[in-house]
Symmetry: C2
Subunit: 183 residues, 2 copies
């Protein structure tokens, strides 16, 4: 089950490394950029779209989302690559009143692998199985993160149901709903 391994990989090779450092990165950003200073924005929002349709830039998905900048780079030596860079992007999301809310948000990168694998005939699974694999990825990751002391309270997993994708404000609304839960 590909999704099981990708969820473990995402935790062991990424979230477990970066989430404990997130608070410090956000504090540094708040001091220089005067944004992300509120309590509600101290978590990494991780987007998990059920259809595995992932954009590389969130502003291309929804006009109410703008790229705001990047958190400072984290450099970690990993498997021979010295100073491998880990970083997150900050986005500004406009609500219905035109007010901007900054947050650290990104898609769950392994879904790109699921998407590409479903299109490579030699990879062993196709589009019908992909949705099942995304759900398995989400549930496995949720389970792992709930038991992780290093990641506790530092993330929010956002499962995106694609039925509402026709709404051009679908993504900003989903993000805002979760941001408001934190405040």
């Amino acid at each position: 089950n590909v999704a099981h391994g990708l969820a473990w990989s995402f935790y062991l090779g990424y979230l477990r490394l970066v989430l404990p450092r997130l608070e410090d990165s956000i504090k540094a950003f708040c001091e220089t950029r005067k944004a992300l200073c509120g309590r509600g924005s101290r978590k990494l929002l991780i987007l998990v779209p059920l259809n595995a349709n992932i954009s590389h830039k969130l502003e291309e998905e929804d006009n109410n989302i703008r790229f705001y900048g990047n958190l400072p780079n984290n450099e970690i030596d990993r498997a021979g690559v010295q100073g491998r860079v880990y970083k997150h992007s900050v986005y500004s999301v406009l609500d219905e009143h035109g007010e901007a809310h900054q947050c650290v948000v990104e898609y769950a990168t392994p879904l790109l692998t699921l998407h590409s694998m479903s299109q490579e005939s030699s990879a062993g699974f196709g589009e019908p199985e992909r949705r099942q694999q995304v759900l398995l990825f989400y549930r496995t990751l949720q389970e792992i993160l709930e038991h992780s002391l290093e990641c506790r309270n530092r993330y929010k997993l956002i499962l995106l149901n694609d039925e509402d994708e026709d709404d051009p404000r679908f993504l900003s609304k989903a993000i805002l709903r979760h941001l408001q839960q934190q405040e």
Copy 2:
């Protein structure tokens, strides 16, 4: 089968992105650092140790290996992270005559996931299965790369058998053997 998904992830999320750019990065390095200019060093050497024992710095494995520098950063927008950085480390390897050979080399990072998973009881597999998974990873990756036009001739997969690990020059000898094959 975790290794199958990790091999696809390593190809789709990394090698397919970075190998086509490797030649340009090496040329830029050769111009500024006057090293890696020979034809034999235009490939990424990918180390696959059967026991999944991975170091984060190769010089810690073998005194005849030294860190030489990093290739220039490649920045690619990926899944919401803007300007995500991809880079490789360059190492200098001394042969038996004391002559130094530079090369771009790193471990296959997904083996870190296999190693950590074999130690997490809730991940579903243990140390006995791990070696099998490393072999499956190696064979799957080899198969994928042989059919990839974008990656053709730009890499060398080096399977490291751990029986010779007692030799403190094990790693440098393995790397040199493969470098000499290219020249």
